[in-house]
């Protein structure tokens, strides 16, 4: 967009987060707008519907005390941009990219549009590099790779954000030193932000992080901007500076609610449960910014955290997210109640890119078979647990009883590792030990070759 700025006096109407402008000229869709009241208060806005009769502007700050007829509306002639650069590492900014860490405003190395363009799929490179998170449930069973987007489906009061923080503290990227974290807080509480940042600080992760904060008390609509600003920063660090960037976003549910608010204010025909029909496309515009480019160094890996309303995984927010992301880590209230920590329910959890990141030369040769077998026995144990709740344990067949005992142990020892950091090899070894509590005849997925290798390994260990 190259057109110069223009100024109008007075909007014709305002409702909630929207103001309406009549008979404006040369307005562009997506144009960045500044709304001023006597030089004292400024609101930021963006054109979301440009029309000769009526133009709709979405306002990012709360519109308290915004008198539509009296404001000065400046169309800037450009799109929303934000400063990005290495010097932002270690900094904490608000949703308007203003410092909240008592340091001077960052200048950055560049100003870039926050609404990114889609990567050319033909220029993407296939994500395949293993990231060790230190969590057995992820590294062993649902491996994360560089360039993946893997959300945590949490529930109210479940430790989704804590798990994300634990991953940041423990994560070992394949190329170590050029590793950065971008954190976008969207509508979470001050308490959550503080505890998250404190953990960052203590682990030394803060100096390689850029933090964008929009808390529950901050403007709602700004939440639509914050993740995109964070991603613009991540893309710059990754693809201009060669960093492997891990982007944490919390909470996507608050983001979606902001989206719904705009839809309602525009009197749009709502989709499922009142969320806009274009929510899939909108979320895809965020999540698809993760990835790796063929000819460039860095990577953007995305770990969004969302809260499943009422623990319902079929709710449109987790549902559409799961349809876009490359898997999901699902937390379970039942496991949390039984003090399994982290309470990751492995059955609905999935990493779609796991296969590319594991096996010979990447993790261990038997990784796939090992995980398949653990999954098979665990799933059988869970089925047996369900049946036992109806017919009692004594009504189970022998195979089911064995599987049930296994499932209990597996949840306690393997999944429930607490705050300990486990290397991949510790995870694999633990999985083997648990499998070896079962008769080999039950483990039909493991072939002779794998057993031979395993036996040799154990021999060495002794």
């Amino acid at each position: 967009m190259t057109a110069v700025g223009r100024t109008y006096r007075g909007a014709s109407a305002a409702t909630g987060p929207l103001i309406f402008l009549e008979r404006a000229h040369r307005i562009a869709l997506g144009e960045w707008v500044l709304i001023e009241l006597e030089k004292e208060t400024t609101w930021r806005g963006q054109v979301i519907d440009a029309g000769e009769e009526i133009t709709v502007i979405q306002v990012f700050e709360e519109p308290y005390g915004l008198p539509p007829a009296q404001v000065k509306i400046s169309l800037t002639g450009r799109v929303a941009t934000a400063p990005v650069g290495r010097e932002l590492l270690g900094r904490a900014l608000d949703g308007a990219a203003r410092p909240i860490d008592d340091l001077p405003a960052p200048v950055g190395e560049a100003m870039v549009p926050v609404w990114g363009a889609p990567m050319n799929p033909a220029r993407r490179s296939r994500p395949a590099e293993f990231i060790e998170t230190g969590l057995s449930a992820i590294d062993g069973m649902n491996t994360l790779v560089c360039g993946q987007k893997l959300p945590i489906f949490s529930g109210a009061g479940l430790p989704g954000l804590e798990i994300a923080a634990q991953i940041v503290e423990h994560a070992r990227a394949p190329r170590g030193e050029r590793f950065a974290v971008v954190f976008a807080a969207m509508g979470i509480t001050a308490r959550e932000t503080d505890s998250f940042l404190r953990r960052f600080d203590e682990s030394g992760a803060l100096e390689r992080s850029v933090v964008y904060v929009n808390e529950a008390r901050d403007p709602t609509i700004e939440r639509l901007l914050v993740p995109r600003m964070a991603l613009a920063q991540a893309e710059f660090l990754a693809f201009k500076q060669g960093f492997d960037v891990l982007v944490i976003m919390a909470d996507v549910t608050h983001y979606c609610e902001a989206l719904r608010e705009i839809g309602a204010a525009r009197e749009e025909i709502p989709g499922r449960r009142g969320y806009p029909g274009y929510m899939y496309t909108d979320l895809a515009g965020i999540f698809e910014r993760a990835g790796i480019l063929r000819e460039l160094e860095g990577s953007v890996t995305l770990l969004p955290v969302l809260t499943m309303p009422d623990d319902d995984i079929t709710h449109p927010i987790p549902d559409l997210t799961g349809y876009i992301t490359e898997g999901q880590i699902v937390l379970s209230r039942e496991l949390a109640r039984r003090a399994v920590n982290p309470p990751i329910d492995l059955l609905p959890s999935l990493s779609r890119l796991m296969n590319a990141g594991i096996g010979r030369d990447r993790t261990v040769p038997e990784h796939r078979i090992w995980a398949d077998e653990l999954y098979a026995v665990y799933a059988r144990g869970r089925e047996a647990r369900l049946m036992a709740s109806i017919v009692g344990e004594s009504g189970l067949g022998k195979g089911d009883r064995v599987a049930l005992t296994f499932a209990d142990r597996f949840e306690e020892d393997f999944v429930g590792q607490g705050s300990e950091r486990r290397s991949l090899h510790q995870t694999i070894e633990l999985g083997w030990r648990l499998l070896e509590t079962l008769p080999r005849s039950e483990l039909i997925r493991i072939d002779d070759e794998t057993w031979t290798r395993r036996d040799a390994q154990r021999g060495e260990a002794r």
Partner: protein
């Protein structure tokens, strides 16, 4: 009339005046960057257009120019191996212009305008030709003969024709009315290409997946819907079809899905070898890629583009498979556009014409006798993934698909969570083609294929019933006969029908292997029944042995099949009552 200019921009839609002369589905160039758009509504002097590129930055007052024709596919040799976006721009050509990211306002050819093909004429001057007649041929890929057809709708006497090394745009001949004939021609994507007549669904579309080929076979030229919630295995199935299905050409439409999945295809396919041709899989594949974050209007168009390209190869006499992932994203694109038009929605906000349009898409599949001489038979098999919100099949896209598709491969999240793949719901799935295909299977494999299949289906039904009871009373309380049904049912489901896409030797199963595994399990079933009849419960250890043997048959390389089958037969023998 003054030049038309933009008066409104909202999402993917633009309104412009004065455009009273516009016709529906006519193309236009919008704005100073000349974005491609299509007229979708005309009311008085105001026309509404859907824009195939990102509309951010479009400004009121910018110009709009009509293009005079609808969205077309550029059809000719060189499509195989290409990667196109939803409106047919080569993504490699796009990348050469705008680098790693796609920016609006670029034009990029579908076919490489520089590439030359050796054209060998077949028709002679003076010959009377009509649409579909073979003019000559080129070799598109080594070993892949690509007949050049007179475009449907043309007719005349061949005035000139010449052999030589041509680009797709160069003239290779002409008709007496002066019409120039080239290697490539354009065809409107929304208009089905004509053919002579439809043929019966009497041969299968072989997938290499046992659960489909054995239980729910698709017909060549048929249609199948594959609904399933996220993570149930739709994409893996579609990719497996693209890799292993019996087809000459595969058109893979990545419609509104993930960029990394496309990267995976692009990194795998060139190195995978197609067993039939011995050449790279990419050489039989056309990839249409419009990921979820690319413009929605182009997502809507992508499915039509893919089907049109498929029809083009069908007309050459090829067996073409179209796999679309996912039709729900196509439907959502329709919904997004309809909502912006303020159309009255029906269920789930979907436009009222959803069922209609979806039906028309599926109807473009078929096994047909093509237009023109010499006579050719070609087919277009269509397999569409459906992504129901919340995994609930009562939603409109699944329901509309069920009304028209000849097969349903329903996927079940519980099975997927247990990592039982393909996670096919054996109770809900069906194939309306199965009955008509049994004769083919009996002739092409073994006489008893149909009876083994129907008895296996019955066993699985029986096992479901017993499992239900076991869920209430516990397996320990069951009679011996019922416990046996549970065991053998589990063997069929978990060993015979499950297939890991990541397995070294079992990602695809040749028909003979499918037959062997199915019959071995079937014989174990019969043997067990016989022994029960004699008042003896089948030995659980022997049954376990059968399971292990079947697993080893399944996981062995195909060359070892006979040897492993012999071992399994021995295990059966031990179970008592081998044959």
């Amino acid at each position: 009339m003054s030049p038309a200019r933009i008066v409104r921009v909202s999402g993917a839609l633009v309104e412009a005046v004065p455009l009273e002369g516009a016709s529906l589905f006519e193309l236009a160039r919008v704005g100073e960057r000349r974005l491609l758009a299509e007229v979708i509504r005309v009311a008085g002097e105001r026309a509404t257009l859907q824009v195939y590129e990102d509309t951010a930055g479009l400004r009121l007052g910018e110009p709009v120019d009509l293009g005079g024709h609808g969205l077309t596919a550029h059809l000719g040799p060189g499509l195989l191996g290409s990667v196109l976006d939803g409106i047919g721009r080569s993504l490699a050509a796009t990348a050469a212009r705008t680098g790693d990211y796609i920016h609006p306002g670029i034009t990029a050819e579908t076919l490489d305008p520089e590439r030359r093909f050796e054209f060998v004429p077949g028709a002679r001057t003076g010959e009377r030709l009509t649409g579909g007649d073979v003019l000559g041929h080129v070799e598109e890929q080594p070993g892949f003969v690509h007949p050049i057809l007179v475009p449907p709708g043309l007719e005349g006497t061949l005035d000139s024709i010449r052999p030589g090394n041509f680009t797709v745009g160069e003239m290779v001949g002409s008709l007496d009315d002066g019409t120039k004939l080239r290697l490539a021609h354009d065809w409107p994507v929304r208009r089905p290409r004509p053919f002579q007549r439809r043929l019966a669904f009497d041969r299968p579309f072989l997938t290499g997946q046992r659960v489909f080929d054995f239980l729910f076979p698709a017909a060549e030229g048929g249609t199948v819907a594959v609904p399933g919630g996220f993570g149930t295995g739709k994409t893996v199935i579609e990719q497996s079809l693209a890799k292993y299905a019996e087809a000459d050409v595969v058109v893979f439409i990545g419609c509104g899905e993930r960029g990394n999945e496309m990267a995976e295809l692009l990194s795998d396919f060139p190195d995978l070898v197609d067993d039939r041709s011995g050449r790279s899989l990419m050489e039989r594949t056309v990839l249409i890629v419009n990921t979820s974050n690319m413009p929605v209007a182009a997502r809507e168009a992508s499915v039509y583009l893919g089907i049109t390209i498929a029809e083009y190869y069908r007309d050459q006499g090829r067996r073409v498979a179209v796999v679309a992932d996912s039709l729900s994203r196509w439907a959502e694109a329709l919904r997004e556009i309809a909502a912006r038009l303020q159309e009255m929605p029906s269920e789930e906000g979907m436009p009222t014409y959803l069922g209609n349009r979806l039906g028309k898409l599926y109807e473009r599949a078929g096994r047909v006798e093509a237009l023109g001489r010499p006579q050719r038979v070609g087919s277009l098999t269509f397999v569409g993934a459906v992504s129901p919100p919340g995994g609930d099949f009562s939603e409109p896209v699944t329901q509309a698909s069920l009304r028209v598709a000849g097969g349903l491969w329903a996927l079940d999240p519980t099975l997927a969570h247990q990592r039982h793949f393909p996670a096919v719901d054996l109770e809900a799935s069906y194939s309306l083609y199965a009955a008509g295909l049994m004769e083919w299977f009996a002739n092409a494999t073994h006489d008893d294929w149909p009876s083994v299949r129907s008895e296996s289906l019955r066993l699985l039904q029986l096992e479901r019933d017993v499992r239900e009871i076991a869920g209430l009373v516990g397996p320990e309380a069951l009679q011996e006969g019922d416990r046996f049904i549970l065991e053998i049912g589990r063997i069929v489901r978990e060993i015979v029908l499950s297939q890991s896409a990541f397995s070294e030797h079992d990602a695809a199963s040749p028909l003979e292997k499918t037959y062997r595994l199915a019959t071995l399990a079937h014989r174990a079933y019969r043997a067990g029944l016989a022994s029960l009849e004699r008042g003896r419960a089948p030995d659980p250890a022997a049954l376990e042995g059968v399971g292990r043997m079947l697993a080893s048959v399944r996981d062995a390389p195909f060359e070892d099949l006979d040897a492993r089958v012999a071992d399994a037969e021995a295990a059966l023998e031990r179970m008592g009552g081998g044959s």
